[in-house]
Symmetry: C2
Subunit: 397 residues, 2 copies
């Protein structure tokens, strides 16, 4: 009994400005790269392309690590790939938990049979080096310290260098979640002593979701190779992946060809802009947005001094319906912003200014739309004040 479904027509998505927690807007050149015919995953032309992608990823990660390549899944697959290779049952893993993604890391660590040692901070605040140090001192043989560089659920910007140093002082590896930070703020794998890191394509790299760029330093790869137990995941086994992405080119799984085309083009755009210019653009648009939000009487939820430029968690004022404002922005303006997750559900909006989405025009558009929506919610807002505040930032540059 084969039920033939009512055949839907061609998919024509509504026009959107993607100012949520990702995906971000994708450059037309990246979209076009995906519309190019496929070659095989062992084709010499694809093998050349793999090397180019690896070189470009080393550039954005600021690393010389050979083993720098995209995992064939989204950012969370990158998280799982790093953790299942680096830890084994019984290992002590110090993990920072101050948002959804630190919580998720602890969950993944538990599922490997390792023991997460949670170092907590209130959501929106960052983890202090003293906390990491205290946790390490309480461990017998800490295997790994894992922190989220850019906590997408709160907008908190976690410093990493001190924590990496502490991890090494205690004989542990250091793993960083760079899903939202890579391409938007400096990520210095080698300079900060990060042994392994993963990211996602759909944030500040402005490539569609589907790949998780990852990097493994020599110490991390050595740990992965000298495990007592097999890696619990075949799909994410870095020893096997390294044979395909390394010189041997041994078939493991069929690489997502078109997504790799897209990533290559997105990374070319990053390199053409230059990292410093790109970081400055992200900072500038964040400053303008923040000025406009203040003028609207709104507050950023993340700790002052540790606010990410690409992810702005905004506290929802009392008496304002969080979801209704988002629905209005999407319905009336085609602007997507995100809601809160976990304990922040209903309490914050998350405005993303990532990669291609980080543009002055977008900042003005979302401020104008928010001003209108807040007025509809009964808030008293001085017309034009938010736009003027943002424009003043741009004028001052």
């Amino acid at each position: 009994m084969r039920v033939v479904p009512a055949l839907p027509g061609e998919f024509t998505p509504p026009a959107r400005l993607l100012l949520g927690p990702g995906p971000s807007d994708v450059h037309p050149r990246v979209l076009r790269a995906m519309s190019v015919p496929l070659v095989g995953h062992l084709d010499p032309a694809f093998v050349t392309m793999m090397e180019e992608v690896k070189a470009l990823l080393r550039f954005v990660f600021a690393t010389g690590n050979d083993l720098t390549f995209p995992i064939s899944g989204t950012g969370s697959a990158g998280m799982e790939a790093c953790l299942v290779n680096l830890v084994e049952p019984g290992d002590e893993v110090v993990v920072g938990v101050n948002g959804v993604f630190g919580t998720r890391m602890a969950d993944v660590i538990e599922r490997t049979g390792a023991c997460p040692v949670r170092v907590e901070a209130p959501w929106g605040r960052v983890i202090r080096p003293e906390q990491i140090e205290a946790a390490l001192r309480n461990c017998r043989h800490p295997k790994l310290v894992a922190l989220v560089h850019a906590e997408t659920s709160t907008g908190a910007w976690q410093p990493l260098a001190d924590a990496a140093r502490l991890a090494h002082d205690h004989g542990a590896l250091f793993l960083a979640d760079c899903v939202t930070s890579l391409g938007g703020v400096p990520v210095e794998i080698d300079a900060w002593g990060i042994d392994a890191a993963y990211s996602g394509t759909q944030k500040c790299l402005s490539c569609p979701p589907g790949l998780a760029p990852a990097t493994f330093g020599p110490r991390a790869f050595e740990v992965a190779k000298s495990r007592r137990t097999r890696v619990q995941s075949w799909y994410f086994d870095v020893g096997l992946l390294a044979r395909y992405w390394g010189e041997e080119r041994v078939y493991h799984h069929t690489a997502p060809i078109s997504m790799n085309y897209a990533l290559r083009e997105a990374l070319r755009l990053v390199a053409e802009e230059g990292l410093e210019a790109r970081f400055a653009r992200h900072r500038r648009n964040h400053t303008a947005l923040a000025a406009g939000l203040v003028a609207l009487g709104l507050e950023l939820a993340a700790e002052e001094g540790h606010r990410l430029p690409m992810l702005n968690a905004v506290a929802v004022p009392d008496g304002v319906d969080e979801a209704r404002v988002r629905t209005r922005l999407l319905g009336e303006h085609g602007i997507e912003i995100g809601g809160g997750l976990g304990p922040m559900k209903g309490r914050v909006w998350r405005i993303g200014l990532m990669g291609e989405s980080s543009r002055g025009t977008h900042v003005l558009a979302v401020l104008a739309a928010l001003e209108q929506a807040l007025r509809a919610e009964g808030r008293r807002v001085v017309p034009g004040e938010a736009l003027a505040a943002a424009q003043a930032v741009y004028a001052a540059v």
Copy 2:
């Protein structure tokens, strides 16, 4: 020390005819679908699209299973997703091993801590129901029977219905690997009593690699929900995935938006052609190819009566350099065919006629190229005989 890489130019792949084990050629409509701007993974427009993809997948899988959706990884991710959810440490799993992908299943089963009970057949032959029954009788509480429907490494076409019935008679679930079969030969999830199955997008669905369509029947989902232990993978935890792909729409990971656009369009093309017409096309082109291969003095490696139409493993004649022939086809004609894997390395070519790649013109092209290459290898081949044999098949239809 940030090394700016020499910036590569725009990627322009060489023209290829993809007649290997996948990826297959992708229809221009599918390529175009990926070049469309993105919407968010919780956008109402995307949620509607998810439902359409699920309905189209139920159609090709011939199932009424609610839980039918694409896993965010390639076919091997689908394999791992099914196995890690359905089996637990200590479970007995009867698994057919007669090629690379059955071997891979056994490997994944071991990594879950379950006990694979291997039922073997020589590569190229299929597993007999009596073998399954004997293995089940030797188990105390068999949890699952797992077979590969279309063994991409050998071209063997495994019957499934009897094995599924035997599994149920012994209180076990039945899992099928339909990576290469789906969309090319009948796959009857409900009629054959298959409890769970997975596929890949890059074979007979002719969509780029990157997603693994999967389906879980009520019994399988019940087993996954009533486990004693947690699913070892967070990324593949079907309980969490079902909350995003089901009615709740709870964020799990960011769905690969563009790949889902592509899959939807590829499935629309399948539905427009009709499954019976598509299966007949695959059979016809296989018959023509086989006739041409015989005329070239070549033999198919898979067991007679169990030869897949979309994957033709061809024995390499003595004195012929397997790799040199493939290199010649790729270099001189832009035709990709596959080599052998594992014990078949160097001993077979694998000619795929999958989805968009299954065309009469392609059959003639690969036969002409092979004829030329074999002559260059010193084989005596009657000019034009292979093409005539293939053309006779088309003329007789």
